[in-house]
């Protein structure tokens, strides 16, 4: 177990290093930082001064080394727009994104698992067929368009919910959260639902498929044969075995939810990391883009690691050593 963890950490470090190289190449070789950083009206002397100051006249490997040195010290440079360390700005926005992603995931699980279980237990019922048809729609609907429709319906036409923003927040554990206030919750509903839509379909389909696989198993038949009620069989035998793959996918999808929050945050003006990166790309805030990319890579490596751990703890047959 510890050996496995150590190997994973070493692997993660290599991935991180590879990512810094890719990001560095992306910024410094494909794009020319001098063009981005120096105002176009600067004269030749000013240009040369800034290039020397930024170290752009040094060989590439030396530039990379100093870039890596900065990253190792948590120094991703200052944001041009905010005038503050890029990492600090990102970490300030992170709770908003995590909150949105978590609530969306809760939606997906609470709606997806019961519907999927139902469709798996009664595959030929009209309700189950309807559930499956809706799930195809859920996969095909462009989520940003659905977001616009949600605003259109619930905010503009009905006027029930706000069009965007986080609403009132309350501090908890040193961070600001929307779900602790009524106003914040009202702001949270639409974006979270929008973000969850795709995942609801996914969890639903998966839960249905898994239920379909588990039901014909011998241990289910045995459970029925020894006289357990259907509810008891489902709770203790079916659901538990269905949940293993569902839990894995939910964990893996958490990363994808964070990634897709880029879209949802832009639509609902939710002040999280996703909206920040889109704004930064439009404003060519280079240190911000680099910092975001590296933060997101770390986040993903951590998520993948946690998912593997959860997977192993849910299914003891899986040997982490292998």
């Amino acid at each position: 177990m510890i050996g496995w963890l150590a190997r994973r950490v070493v692997q993660a470090i290599f991935v991180m290093l590879a990512m810094t190289v890719i990001v560095f190449i992306g910024v410094n070789v494909i794009g020319n930082p001098a063009d981005i950083l120096i105002p176009p009206d600067a004269d030749q002397i000013e240009r040369a001064r800034v290039i020397a100051q930024l170290g752009l006249d040094k060989p590439l490997w030396e530039q990379y080394a100093s870039f890596l040195w900065g990253v190792l010290h948590g120094d991703f440079g200052k944001s041009f727009v905010f005038g503050e360390p890029a990492l600090k700005v990102i970490l300030q926005r992170m709770p908003a994104t995590l909150e949105l992603a978590l609530v969306a995931m809760v939606f997906a699980v609470l709606v997806g698992i019961p519907l999927g279980l139902y469709a798996g237990l009664r595959p030929n019922a009209p309700g189950a067929r309807a559930v499956m048809a809706i799930s195809i729609l859920g996969f095909s609907l462009p989520s940003f368009w659905v977001g616009l429709l949600l605003i259109m319906l619930f905010s503009v036409q009905l006027g029930w919910l706000p069009t965007g923003g986080r609403g009132e927040t309350r501090e908890f554990l040193g961070m600001h959260w929307s779900f602790l206030t009524a106003d914040g919750l009202r702001h949270l509903v639409l974006p979270a639902l929008n973000l969850a839509l795709f995942k609801i379909s996914l969890v639903m389909r998966l839960a249905r498929a898994e239920t379909g696989e588990v039901m014909p198993q011998d241990y289910v038949r045995t459970a029925f044969a020894k006289g357990l009620s259907e509810g008891a069989v489902i709770r203790t035998h079916v659901l538990r075995n269905t949940l293993i793959p569902v839990a894995t996918v939910v964990g893996l999808e958490f990363g994808s939810v964070i990634a897709f929050s880029v879209v949802t945050e832009t639509i609902f003006a939710w002040p999280g990391m996703g909206k920040l990166i889109i704004d930064s790309i439009h404003l060519l805030d280079r240190p911000m883009i680099v910092a975001y990319l590296l933060v997101i890579v770390v986040l993903f490596i951590v998520i993948n690691l946690v998912v593997d751990l959860i997977y192993a703890s849910l299914d003891p047959r899986i040997r982490l050593e292998n």
């Binding site: 494909i30 095909s140 609907l141 462009p142 368009w145 429709l149 880029v262 993948n304």
Partner: protein, 304 residues
């Protein structure tokens, strides 16, 4: 397998060509046929957009800014009817959608095919070469697939900048890994079969074995993935364009049309965003319906 087949049944099976059998199996689902018809109509509409569209949306001379943001059914000064309304520049939405479909389909189909060619080649090669090359390639695939496509595409486009070619390139980079994984998995399964052994005994060259023998037999799962990926690519391109990172304003795809209408939605002018979204939805749904049925028909486990 059913071993008790009567003589008549054997003959009935023999006269069927694989294509005909496939067509019959495919047409079993009404939904899939609906998808196929819908997609054909959309593809034809996109292909013949210059003939069908009442207006060339790229020709600024034909646009009248005074006609901006007219609701569906309004008439222009020249008597033309804007069936789906106009956007803020006075562009006929119907024409905009027809031309936008061209860009969306072009990006989706091109990226899926190029990614399929690259990914499949690498996947087959990995399965055939084995050893370190295989494990290195598959590590790369795993790594790539552990990051969501939208994020990788976003990173690439933040470096490359906007443009139709850049979007296709970004989509190819995010999609190849799926094909590589599938191609390798099928190739590993096929490799153990006797016809490959026979081909090797015949002294066929590795290239011939890869592309002449392995590839055709790996096609069924790859076809399913190509179909599904076309739909995904179209949706992803729309999303990227919506975020302002995809195609340039001069060649608006469906996603960009939707983005243009976003700010007017809050004032109740829904049509600028709504109809392009509907077109996008119809396209993606039709492709997914086809893909779903293909998966069922081509899945050897489900084939009876």
């Amino acid at each position: 397998m059913n071993t008790h087949v009567s003589q008549g049944q054997v003959e009935a099976v023999l006269v069927q060509t694989p294509l005909r059998r496939f067509a019959r199996a495919f047409s079993q689902s009404r939904l899939a046929m609906l998808g196929l018809v819908l997609f054909t109509v959309i593809a034809l509409a996109a292909l013949f957009a210059p003939l069908l569209a009442p207006q060339n949306p790229y020709d600024l001379m034909q646009l009248d800014i005074m006609d901006g943001r007219l609701p569906p059914g309004s008439r222009s000064a020249t008597g033309m009817v804007y069936w789906l309304g106009t956007d803020d520049q006075g562009r006929d939405m119907l024409s905009g959608i027809l031309y936008g479909l061209r860009i969306s389909l072009l990006v989706g189909v091109c990226s899926a095919l190029v990614a399929a060619a690259i990914g499949t080649t690498l996947g087959l090669f990995a399965a055939y070469a084995g050893g370190r090359i295989e494990s290195a390639l598959m590590r790369l695939v795993d790594l790539q697939l552990s990051f969501p496509t939208i994020l990788v595409a976003l990173m690439i486009l933040s470096f490359l900048g906007k443009g139709v070619f850049n979007v296709i390139l970004a989509l190819v980079i995010v999609e190849w890994a799926t094909y590589a994984r599938t191609a390798r998995a099928s190739a590993l399964r096929e490799r153990r079969k006797e016809y490959i052994e026979a081909a090797i005994c015949h002294g066929a060259s590795p290239l011939r074995i890869l592309f002449g023998h392995l590839l055709p037999n790996c096609m069924p799962p790859l076809m399913v993935i190509v179909t599904i990926q076309v739909g995904r690519a179209i949706a992803l391109e729309a999303t990227l364009s919506f975020l302002g990172l995809g195609v340039p304003v001069t060649e608006p795809s469906l996603g960009l049309l939707i983005a243009n209408g976003y700010q007017y939605m809050l004032s109740g002018k829904f049509w600028i965003s709504f109809y392009p979204g509907l077109a996008l939805l119809a396209t993606v749904v039709s492709i997914n319906l086809i893909g779903d049925q293909l998966r069922d028909v081509l899945n050897p486990r489900k084939r009876s």
